[in-house]
Structures are given as C-alpha cells and as structure tokens.
Subunit: 216 residues, 4 copies
Amino acid sequence: MKILVTGFMPFGGETVNPAYEAVRRLPAQIAGADIATVEIPVVYKKGPAAVEAAIDAEKPDMVLCVGQAGGRAEITPEFVGINYANFRIPDNEGFQPLSTKLEEDGPDAYFATLPVQAMVDACKEKGVPANVSYSAGTYCCNEVLYELLYALDHRHPGVRGGFVHVPYLDSQAANLKAGTPSMSLARITEGLTAMVAAMVEHEGEDIVSASAGCEH
Amino acid sequence: MKILVTGFMPFGGETVNPAYEAVRRLPAQIAGADIATVEIPVVYKKGPAAVEAAIDAEKPDMVLCVGQAGGRAEITPEFVGINYANFRIPDNEGFQPLSTKLEEDGPDAYFATLPVQAMVDACKEKGVPANVSYSAGTYCCNEVLYELLYALDHRHPGVRGGFVHVPYLDSQAANLKAGTPSMSLARITEGLTAMVAAMVEHEGEDIVSASAGCEH
Amino acid sequence: MKILVTGFMPFGGETVNPAYEAVRRLPAQIAGADIATVEIPVVYKKGPAAVEAAIDAEKPDMVLCVGQAGGRAEITPEFVGINYANFRIPDNEGFQPLSTKLEEDGPDAYFATLPVQAMVDACKEKGVPANVSYSAGTYCCNEVLYELLYALDHRHPGVRGGFVHVPYLDSQAANLKAGTPSMSLARITEGLTAMVAAMVEHEGEDIVSASAGCEH
Amino acid sequence: MKILVTGFMPFGGETVNPAYEAVRRLPAQIAGADIATVEIPVVYKKGPAAVEAAIDAEKPDMVLCVGQAGGRAEITPEFVGINYANFRIPDNEGFQPLSTKLEEDGPDAYFATLPVQAMVDACKEKGVPANVSYSAGTYCCNEVLYELLYALDHRHPGVRGGFVHVPYLDSQAANLKAGTPSMSLARITEGLTAMVAAMVEHEGEDIVSASAGCEH
C-alpha cells in the first residue's frame, strides 16, 4: 500500500509551515505502507494541481493533505470539504477569490473518505490532542480538500482521501498574540504518524459508520 | 410574501431556548413580508417533521429555522447542512444517533439557499454582532437544516431556506462557566429581524455570488 | 449616602466607551443613595487626578470607577490594584509609561474596599453575567484603581472604593474580530445599577470575609 | 549560586502534574547555578511549609515555585501574589478555605522578586510561548507564591523568589474538553530551563525596572 501525504508551503507572512515541516519528517514506512510526501503551493488552483500531479506520479491508495490552522489547539482531520472559496487574504501569488464556486458542476460538498474518528482516537492514544473538525474554512485548505475529493470522484476511482489541519508550532506562537495555542513539531509529527497508521488499519471504512446506530 | 420562522424548544437541561424566545417576539410583518412562527421539538426526526408540517400549513416563500449555539458570541447564519448526525447528548426524548446518515439517498451536504452574507451585513449595521458559520454541528440544529434543504429540494420547489444560530441569553450565561459569551434577548430579536429583512430585500440571490469574482 | 461613579472616555481609536455610556445612564438614586457621575480622561496621572477632584467636590461615601475591558464577556469588579504601569498602547495624550511604579512609597497592591462578591451576586440575580476579576491589567484602569485606593488610604479616611470592568458594547464588537464577546448598553447599565445597590446594602463589609472560613 | 525549584504534586483528579514532571527533568546545573528540586503537596499550609523546609535545608539564593495552570497556552511567570485564598475545589486533604486572608498581618500583596520579563523573553527566544501573568488565582499556587514572598520578607533576607505557571501536558489535554491548549513536556522543560538561566543572568534586577521610564 502507498500513501501520499502533502504539506503546504509557508503563507501569510510566515517563514515556516508546520504542515510540511511535519510531513517531511514522517517515516518512509508507516504500519507497512510506503509514504510518499510532497510540498504544495498555497496558490489558488496550483495547490490542487500539485496534489493531482503527485497522485499521477505516485499512484497512491490513499491521499492525506496537511495544512496549518493557526489558532486551533489540536490536530483536526476534516470531515467535509465545500464547493466554495472566499479567501480572507490573498494566496502566495496574490489571487483572492471571493464567494466563488470551486467547480461549477460539482456537488455542494464531499465528505472525506478517510476514517476520521479512528484517526482522532489513534492520535489521542499517543497523548496528542486531536478532534474531528466539521469546517476546513474557505481558503486554500478547503480548496485542496474539495478539489482532491472531486478529482478522486471523477478521475481516480478507488483512491481515498482527506485533509488534516495542524496547529501553529510553538516557535510561531511564541511571537504571536498572547494565548495562541500551539504544538511542538515533534508532537505534530507523532500525531500525524498515528493518524496515518489508523488510515492503514481502518482502510476501506466509511467516514459515516452505519453500524454506530442510534442509542435510546 | 410569507416567511416561516421556526425556533427550538429548550433542551439539555435548560429551561429556556433563546431561539424560540426571540422568534416569538418577531413582528407580524418584516419589510412587507408576513411572518409565521412555530416552536419545534429538539427531537430526532420530529424536529424536521414539525418544520415540514408548518411548511405544508403556511405555504411560505422562505423558511428560516433558528437554534441556540451556546458558546458563540454572535448571531451566525449557517452556510451548509451536512448529511450526518452524531449527537453529543441525547435529544429531548432520549435518542442519541451516532455517526449516522440523515438521508441514505441524500447528497453529502446542501448549501443554504438564503443570502447569508447580506443577512450578516444587515445585522451588523444594527450594531448586533454576526458572522457566517460554516458548521452547524452534528446535533438537532444541523439535522433540521439538512432535512429542511432536502425537503425543499424534493418536495417544495422554489421555496428557499436556511438556519441561524443564536448565542446564549445573558440570563443563561450568568449561571454558566466564567467567560461564556451571551447576548440580550432584545438584541437577538433585533438581529433576527434585520436578517429577515435582508432575506426579503435580497430574495432570490444565491448564497454563492458568481459576481464576487476573483481579486488579483 | 452618596456614591461617586466615574467612567472613562473613549480611547485606543474607539469613538465610544461603554463605561461612561453606562455610567451616565445610571439613575440619580440607587437603593436610597445619591449617585454622582463624572467622565474621566484616559490619560496617565490625569485620570486619577480627575477622580480625586470629583471626590473633593462631591464628598462621597463610596467611589466606583468604571472602565472597558474589551474581550471580556462579563461585568467584572476588580479585587486588587497593583503599584505598576506598563501601557501596551499610549494613552490619549501619547504617554506610554513602561514598567514603572505608580507610587514610589506605595505598597505593591491594595485590595478594593467594596463587597465585590456581593456585587457579582446581585448582578447575576438580574440575569447579567458577572465575575470577580483578580487583575485590572497594567493600563489606565489599574492606574485609576490603585491611585484611588492610595488616595483614600492617605487622604480620605472612611471612604471606600473600587473598580468595575465592563465588556465591549454589541455595536463595538460587531465591527471587531469574529468571536469577540460583548454586552448591550441596557444590560451593562442594569448590571452596574445592581452592583451599586449591593454596595449600599453591604456597606462596610470587607472584601475578604473572615466569616467565610475553611470548609473541611 | 544555588536555585531551589519546587513543583506541585498532581491534584484535582489528575494523575500527573506537569509542574513537577518538568522540574525533576531540569539539569543539575543551569548557567553555572546549582539546581535543587523538590516536590510539594497541593495542601493548604502544607505546600508553603514544604517550600520553607526546603529553603532551610538547601539555603538557596533564589526560589522558583512551579505549578499547573490548566487552560493557559503559555508558560507564565507570575507578577504578584495576593493575601487571599478562595479555593474553587478542595485541596488534596479536603480543605477548602473560602474568602480568607493567608496572613492576618501581611500586606495585601507582594510582587515577585524575580526578573519576570527577562524570563519571558528568554523562553520565547527558545521558541517556547510565554507571557507575564498578573494573577496567580486564589488556589494553592497563589498561596505558595504569597507565603514564599512573606517568608522571604520576614525570615530569609536577600533570597529572591517567584512562581511560574505551566500549561497542561499534551497527554492531559488529549482527554479534556475540545480546544484545551497544552504543551509537550519537552518544551515545558526547555522553557523552564531558559527561565532559570535568565534568573541567573539578571540576578538582582527588580521586577519593576525604574529605567524603563515613560515614552512620550
């Protein structure tokens, strides 16, 4: 099995992005799966294009894109990507799409096709804070998530994919507004490794588990 | 024009729900539209059923459902409802669906069909804090939003709908954890009134405005 | 009995200060006590001087100074003022004292001499969120609190005093960062009125209640 | 030079306290100073007594007490300890003093006698988030800080002292409420080490720097 893991470049004036910093520290194999990593640009349309180019090159079984969600305290797998861009700041090439559909013929949203709850549980078992997120925002991270799922749906049948947001690094937060949560690079890397292992272990499980049922 | 506005009953041990308290104080007419209001139960499947029964009875042109999002500081129209239930607490009849699809044949999500940004702008112009929200959670509020949009899509063509979350009342927060944000009933009612007026004024506008375009 | 209540002018680029807006709306009498109000400048040394000038003019039995603590969700009586100024922004005349003692011969801190817990309880009973605060910061609010208590200690024996922070108004927060808590002017005024009534009812009580004792 | 560093035992149902976990990992020497460490109980009066017993035994030049402030995102040296106890939960032996003075003949507060701003700066330079705090609360941490400064003032002339709060460990936060900030044990230990080095380097500096002056 092969898993492609992508990480964003720095953006918004930062000189580092914890996403790719952690991604490039992942081991070459996790739970028996080969890990391929790639850095992608924080640029409208070019980010998703870089992901798909890597899919074409690596032929992975699963794809996990990783980005920074400054201000969050936990590692958060995203449940859903939406067909919408509304950038609060320009991307790294100065584009700022506002209130725009990502794909004219796409559905309003796609659920990730990874076992997000199992990923969260595996991360917490390692003592690294994690939680499922139900909004990836309206910037490049959501764009890459939605476009990944659109591409998998249309052009890569059988490949599963999703997105994980990671907090600021401690070293970033040390220079930011008082009270900004953060995480060490070591723990982010450890958490992502645990999440990828859970992807392997729970391979093929749907994000919505019909078996969970209804308690009464 | 007629607008149906629904508000949830109290739940989770509270004796009051700011949603219906504000909804029942709305004027009979807003911006020339007739306002019909109804209180709905915080019960799986019964909440959405009550909304649709009111649609059948009132034949509205637009539907706005209102619920409480304890902990938020602002009035927040929801952008999207997702096909997923994962109740963190049981509903008012003791049901607690976990990791369940709401509609087996439904899409992963529906965007609301109300002009959410215009609603936010109108509310802020009155000096009442507001913001677009991109997650309605996984409890009864999201259920009612998704099922409303599913029902409109399948059975009520031309009717538009959406959901707005309101903060705790000051009187609720006074007895809760230190630092819990809240709003007065008067301001919530004023904000909802402004939002309904914006719904009338911007009637027929899509939630995603193609004209917004891409700045460079 | 006479109570002097002071409120700060706007500062930091704001055009309104909820403190004086609420103070000037207080009734002329509360719980049988006459209320005198005055607006004071957000200026190093001139703020405290204006408070003491009003004390000399009004001869009050108690003094309550009121200021804005943007970002807090509740009305918060301050427990303690510290002998320290470290302004994060310049005052309204451009002074910015850094890491400076307010009074060379003063103690490190003074406790307020008002019944802060009873004030909080009275406010909550009206359904207005409130809590005791243990830090008034290091800007003009703490300066006025410390200098008030220093002045009462040295020059106005028998007069009691303290400070209350109030949140942003809703109309301020509507134009600020998403998630900023706020309160309506009506509720702030109602809460302050309840707090002043508690000051009258609990007149002469120490801020530290020896009777509270030690549970085991 | 010798520095005594104390850390609290677990409390409030936790099985670990990041304070002592980090303290016991400090190197034996920091910036040329010998480091003595001791674990102290989260018990009214017994905590301060254990600190003073260690002072008597170790004869340190400076004392730094360390405790956990669950919910904070940064390592925070405390500026001031207040003569007040109001425990929100019972201590580890079931005592819960409420609205009580710690020392009948003590001043309302003592400033720490450590260079807190230099400690914060040194910590941030290592990429570990830090900030000065102006309230140590009203539980055992403030009690130990106030009683330490009272003891130094009365019985150990020339010895300097203060208190630092540290965040939850990642492994604690992983099992707590969503959004709870935390820090890794490695970073907490690194941050404390940098702070102790700054204590040595800035030995003898007052917490209020008269030289900072007033910008205009």
